[in-house]
Symmetry: C2
Subunit: 191 residues, 2 copies
């Protein structure tokens, strides 16, 4: 098998796993959670049914793994924006705008399985991580005088995350940007 | 029956209904939804079981009626604040603070039956009413120059309601007031 000669078993397993996650997410988005079966997923991923069961016990666990990977990807994206050059206030604005756009997209992907997915422990963990992440940036910006310091950064984080959750109901990118602008105005130091 | 001589049937029915709602809410808060039975409610309300069933078919329907009455009470309270003297901006601030405090209290009342209650149609209806109500006040304040007019009042309403939903997680009245202050800062016209 020359095409596999440089692949380790780990790499192969990851590739199969990724293919299964992609195929399942596509099938669920297209046909709804209830219509998707393990056989259909195996077929779509180009692997045998028996192999699929070595990776995942059921459709729900595949969707859960897919969701975990999505969330991890979003957190990476936000961390990348935080670590770019710029003042803390500029980087905060970039992170919050990206977060709001993610909320909007997420909402667009029908709600059928979002209730299921949000029961997972990984979500509570990710939310905690996100809170910690935004709080750090807010407190940095407050020290730089770019964000109000009369309210604790923990409370300001709650304000930002709740206000931006509203992006889920917005239909245009322009509306999301306006929401971010209003939310950032709320963070401004009293002049 | 001299003590009933000036009561109409309607008044009597309303009094029984109110007593049932109060007793049920108190029992559920004390013992949890699953522990409360129709017999226990009849006993606590001081009426017969057969009479109780003429008013309500089950515990869930009583809790639903109780919740509807609560929501209607909150909306009345907010309307009363809106109609007091003052500039639109002042009245908006009073309404939003009261709304945030209600969110905080509501959260305090354990979550066991809140999921059940929030499935009711009356909740969607009340949310729509509230949205309309806040939007009217925001647009009045924008016309008076007290609220920014670069963002539509519909979008500002979504911002306010989402941001203030965060009051549910706050433990002190002071924290709720800070959240309201931050949210109001976001509404300020660009100077």
């Amino acid at each position: 098998m020359p095409k596999l000669w440089n692949e380790t078993i780990e790499e192969h397993r990851r590739a199969v796993r990724d293919a299964v996650l992609e195929s399942t997410a596509a099938l669920v988005a297209e046909q709804g959670l209830r219509a998707v079966t393990m056989s259909r997923i195996a077929e779509q991923s180009g692997i045998g049914r028996a192999t699929l069961y070595k990776y995942f016990p059921d459709v729900e666990s595949i969707m859960m793994a897919w969701h975990e990977r999505q969330i991890a990807g979003h957190l990476d994206e936000l961390a990348e924006l935080r670590d770019r050059p710029g003042t803390p206030g500029e980087r905060l604005a970039a992170v919050l705008e990206r977060y709001a756009l993610i909320q909007q997209q997420r909402h667009g992907h029908g709600g059928e399985f979002s209730a299921l997915l949000h029961r997972g422990d990984h979500v509570a963990h990710a939310e905690q991580h996100l809170h910690h992440f935004i709080r750090g940036l807010l407190s940095e910006a407050a020290k730089a005088g770019e964000v109000r310091d009369d309210v604790a950064s923990d409370e300001l984080t709650g304000y930002c995350l709740h206000a931006l959750a509203g992006a889920g109901g917005l239909s245009s990118k322009a509306a999301v940007k306006r929401l971010v602008a209003v939310t950032l105005t709320g963070l401004r130091p009293e002049s």
